[in-house]
């Protein structure tokens, strides 16, 4: 049960990041509104939706959301690898009002969230056990 709640929080978080990045391209809006607020908002909404509907988020959906997120960071910001260091962290910082943190510190938090979330979510899918748990010798 706790894992399903965690999955819904993470799904909302990733979806919020994707929406924020798309809207961030609209400079007029970006200059007037804290678009990144959509990240905590989306996280909260998906959590509430899960709480009342018990809708389950399939692993494939979460995987593709992560993939889209990763691709958008690259594609929307002039195909710059540097955008991975700047864009998600600046969105997270703005969305959660963590203005005293540097982008480097926010990146550490995001990395922690992603590593732990992916480990918990995909742990029982077979992917993690294939990669990290030694398989018994068949012979």
């Amino acid at each position: 049960m706790a894992k399903e709640y965690f999955k819904s929080i993470f799904t909302g978080f990733i979806a919020g990041n994707i929406i924020a990045m798309i809207f961030n391209q609209w400079i007029f809006l970006e200059m007037r509104v804290n678009i990144a607020l959509v990240i905590p908002l989306s996280t909260f909404i998906v959590l509430i939706v899960y709480h009342f509907s018990r809708i389950k988020f399939h692993l494939t959906v979460i995987f593709f959301l992560e993939l889209i997120f990763g691709l958008l960071v690259f594609l929307l910001y002039n195909f710059s690898v540097e955008s991975y260091r700047i864009i998600p962290a600046s969105m997270f910082r703005e969305g959660f009002h963590l203005n005293s943190l540097s982008l480097g510190e926010v990146n550490a938090v995001i990395l922690l969230i992603f590593v732990i979330a992916n480990f918990i979510i995909f742990r029982d899918s077979g992917i993690v056990s294939t990669w990290f748990v030694r398989q018994p010798d068949e012979s």
Partner: protein, 209 residues
């Protein structure tokens, strides 16, 4: 049960990081100093890493202003103090921008010489060097004034990158709307020169001779 423990640990780690970050100390230097004898103003700001890649029309904005996180540099001094400092060094404000004429009028007022440096920087850089104008036009900062509007709207804008009826100082090359509406130009921080996000930088402003 195990899941709950793990999730509690994750949130615990994140919360600890945030609590530690809240205890950070700011700089001991004054946010703004005026040297009337030499006619210079120096003020502190922080680099905002976001706008090294994302375009903006805000050059420097006071951290507690409404646009405090929308600029390439986050100023540690407020717009009123900055305005008073410019008056103190003898600068004359244009005060020609209104909400009605903003899209057709370029800001007037005394032309200013602005440089920026930071700890470890090899030299003082001009605004042209640290801010990229997609049209490669040299940035021309003029003392627009606009104190009344700046106080009532509390946007915190110190330097705007197009002529603005609210910002204290504006770039007179473009009229309002050049960045957001008409897409005539895009401004970003120069990531090849500027230091890392949150690095404290010192701006020096004086009248252009």
């Amino acid at each position: 049960m195990k899941d709950r423990i793990r999730i509690s640990v994750i949130f615990g780690i994140i919360a600890s990081l945030l609590i530690v970050s809240c205890g950070k100390k700011g700089s001991d230097q004054p946010a703004l100093t005026v040297d009337k004898q030499n006619g210079t103003i120096t003020f502190l700001a922080e680099v905002n890493g976001k706008y090294l890649l994302t375009p903006t029309r805000h050059g420097v904005v006071f951290k507690d202003g409404k646009n405090g996180d929308k600029s390439i540099f986050i100023g540690l001094t407020d717009h009123k103090t900055f305005y008073d400092a410019l008056i103190a060094i003898g600068a004359r404000a244009g005060n020609n921008m209104t909400m009605e004429n903003k899209e057709t009028t370029k800001v007037e007022g005394d032309l200013l010489d602005v440089t920026v440096t930071w700890k470890g920087a090899p030299k003082s850089y001009t605004l042209d060097e640290v801010i990229n104008d997609s049209n490669k036009k040299p940035i021309l900062m003029r003392f627009g004034g606009n104190l009344e509007k700046a106080m009532s709207l509390n946007t915190g804008c110190l330097f705007c990158l197009d002529s603005c009826p609210v910002g204290i100082v504006s770039n007179c090359n473009y009229t309002f709307g050049a960045v957001e509406k008409r897409k005539e130009v895009a401004f970003t921080g120069n990531k090849d020169i500027l230091p890392a996000d949150k690095t404290l930088v010192t701006f020096t402003v004086k009248l252009k001779k």
